[in-house]
Symmetry: C2
Subunit: 459 residues, 2 copies
């Protein structure tokens, strides 16, 4: 048994320490296909900030890496185990500490599931907007670590826009509070913002204070069927150019619709090659007008059919289909999920390039996109165990990243870098910016223990 | 002549270099009363990023500090000269490089005045929300350096929420681009966000890409007169508790109203001890309903008079009075301006404490506040040249900071730390967090040349 395990047994309650290799291996990786992962020395499930403090201090002393993780729903390998590491699962720290209706904020432990927080807020007439498709399973800690997005981002921003403060264990075991409880503040550097999206490489987040909004007006849904990705992309550009900021604007192509149909028999693919789902949450007449305008803009872009959904149950089921796209596609093979984001107006061009990459590399690519954001999730599907297809998929993956960068986009809209986007990150950023990343990483992680090698790699 | 001046003459066009002591001294400090400032070696007014790069490289080589500045409208001494420094005024880099209506973003040089950008956006049906009272003079570069706020923040956030990317000269003269042009992105650490609010201590910002919104609906204004700060504070809490997010909610007390009247003869102080100005920009009926609700809530909190403004010219003049409060008060003496921010619900308590501090320390304090944010600007007014009053003012200043921290607030809502809030920053943050600041500062400013001693001080 590695020495660190004996040390941890003296610091943390024994029932929080897991050495069973089968259990450890079930925590060894997230949902990224083909990302490497190692064998952890031990899994620790802390119950308190004090537990985390003890683990960090012991690992800093012993020079043992820590890989923090939430629910493991990530898709870039950010939570993948390193050989000999301490896997730190925050799942047991799942308390909603406080929901303050007057200040419109909530304080939660990192293991609280996104949907659990959203429900607790809704019961008080409040709303926590970030809504990744993983919301029924993913945790706020993981959402903060990856700066998770979701369907609402087109109008309401990403996780970073809602994190007011974090408590974190940093350095060699210091417990710090970063950020504030007030509506505004500029007391020193934005170290709280720096923690958001840092994927556990700068410390372990042990508490999060999030900003909330008031419950919003009911949404109206607009549905559009299109023959081609190009037409659907033109509809999205049309909505943007008209100055409309929808509360959601999602795209699914035929491959996705067929996969959902095959699983749930929803009959989506019979009518459309590409489905666009738009929503507005403007109140009253303004919402009516915006929904009508979206229908008109869909039609002008060549929709074969476009209409407002008269039935919100039907609209909900269409959005469920959107959220089920990933598990539906998983039934077809291994998935390599892209997350590139391009300037909104270049969405049609980027969709065209994705199709070209699929053809060139002879791979099956299903497209879902937070279209209103220019954030695409082309999913490359390969038959399980087909090594040649895997090689082709990785080439297509690299091609799509190169195309996104060439269009002034980014390799990571909302999933993070983890392991599988590290080369893309180096392609996107100047060497001087990479050097700044390493300088910050070394400054804030002097023991080099926090998820080493992830995101920015080693110098 | 210091050696650095000779060096700079070989690198930058001679007409960009100023050595006239009178001119240099006119750039030696911002608007903070009594904050120390030194004598700069030279003033440089770069025309290009290349100029800035050359200045930074030369200063890094020679170990000469650089103090960057915009319009000098800051109130915390952040732009104050250090002895022997190079004062770097970005005023000549004032080009609006691009306004992209489809992507809803603008690219500007740092010397562009806030109102100039806002006007250029408005001409294209777009809106750049951050609206500090200094907007007619202050520059986007300075706004970014201090993470400036304004009246709109209560609903639309602060400068940080609008900065997508910056170009900056960092380290020993590296030109870097931080951030992105896309709606979303999580490619590495949020180094762009780290630059915002760092007051020139991490590099010199040479270009800013800001996110824009579409033009909004015309605002409706609600006016309330109150006998006491307590009643007005209760009205603000009532608005917040009702779930209303106004587009502005500003407070002015009798001292401010009298100062504006004495200058501009607006007759404000005849009717009210405390004036609350609320606004809503919800469209259509929703806006009507929200304005009416604010009137009712003002009345329920004890307003002596409350009504919707039927005349938007009158409403504009009331908001002008708000924006003129600082120059109006300047006519009465030296000003020491606070910027504390407390949780919204504690605004009445904080206002009471400000009154108590004024009484205890026998100073004249005029109150303006971004009330909806919990962001107070008590202005301590002392007769010019009255040293005893100055000592009492500084005691009251410290007392207000201590009270804000005790209420869970922050020492700096939107003005920054500069020189005069450094002790407050140390009182607000844990030593471990201060140590993180120093670690980041040292990592990103290895030559120690960027506005040294400001914000976090020296270790």
């Amino acid at each position: 048994m590695p020495e660190i395990v004996d040390t941890l047994r003296t610091l943390v309650s024994p029932d929080r320490i897991v050495t069973d290799p089968d259990v450890i291996s079930s925590y060894a990786h997230d949902e990224a296909a083909w990302a490497p992962y190692g064998t952890a020395a031990v899994l620790v499930r802390p119950e308190s900030t004090e537990d985390v403090r003890n683990v960090v201090a012991a690992c800093a002393e012993a020079g043992v890496p820590i890989v923090p993780r939430g629910a493991g729903t990530g898709v870039v390998g950010g939570a993948n185990a390193l050989d000999g590491c301490v896997l730190l699962s925050l799942e047991a720290m799942d308390e909603i500490v406080e929901v303050d209706t007057e200040e419109r904020l909530a304080v939660v432990q990192p293991g609280v599931v996104n949907d659990t927080l959203r429900l607790a807020c809704a019961e008080r007439g409040l709303w926590y907007p970030p809504d990744p498709s993983s919301a029924p399973w993913s945790t706020i800690g993981g959402n903060v670590a990856t700066n998770a997005g979701g369907l609402c981002c087109v109008k309401y921003g990403v996780t970073r826009d809602y994190v007011l403060a974090v408590e974190a264990v940093v350095g060699r075991g210091e417990v710090v509070r970063l950020g504030r409880r007030t509506a505004k503040g500029v007391a020193g550097y934005d170290l709280c913002g720096l923690m958001v999206g840092s994927e556990g490489t700068l410390g372990v987040i042990t508490e999060v204070t999030v900003r909330l909004r008031g419950a919003r007006s009911p949404e109206r849904t607009v549905v559009g069927y299109f023959d081609s990705l190009r037409d659907a992309g033109a509809a999205v550009s049309g909505v943007t150019a008209a100055g409309i900021v929808p509360s959601a604007l999602e795209l699914m192509d035929r491959h996705v619709l067929e996969a959902v149909d095959a699983w749930r028999n929803m009959g989506l693919s019979a009518d459309a090659n590409v489905l666009l789902l738009g929503r507005t949450d403007l109140p009253g007449e303004a919402g009516e007008a915006e929904a009508d305008a979206m229908v008109r803009l869909f039609e002008e872009a060549g929709a074969t059919w476009a209409a407002r959904s008269s039935d919100e149950a039907e609209a909900e089921s269409l959005f469920s289909a959107r959220k089920l796209s990933h598990p539906a596609l998983e039934r077809l093979g291994d998935l390599l999920t892209e997350d590139v984001c391009v300037p909104r107006g270049l969405l049609p061009e980027m969709l065209t390039r994705v199709e070209a990459a699929a053809a060139l590399h002879d791979v099956h690519i299903a497209n879902v996109a937070h279209a209103g954001d220019g954030n695409l999730h082309p999913v490359i599907v390969t038959p399980k165990g087909d090594d040649a297809a895997r090689v082709r998929a990785e080439r297509a993956f690299d091609q799509i990243i190169a195309d996104a960068i060439a269009l002034g986009g980014t390799v990571a809209g909302e999933h993070g870098i983890g392991l599988i986007k590290r080369r893309g990150l180096r392609d996107e950023l100047d060497p001087a910016v990479i050097a700044m990343h390493h300088a910050v990483k070394n400054a804030l992680d002097p023991a080099g223990i926090f998820n080493p090698g992830k995101v920015v790699g080693t110098p």
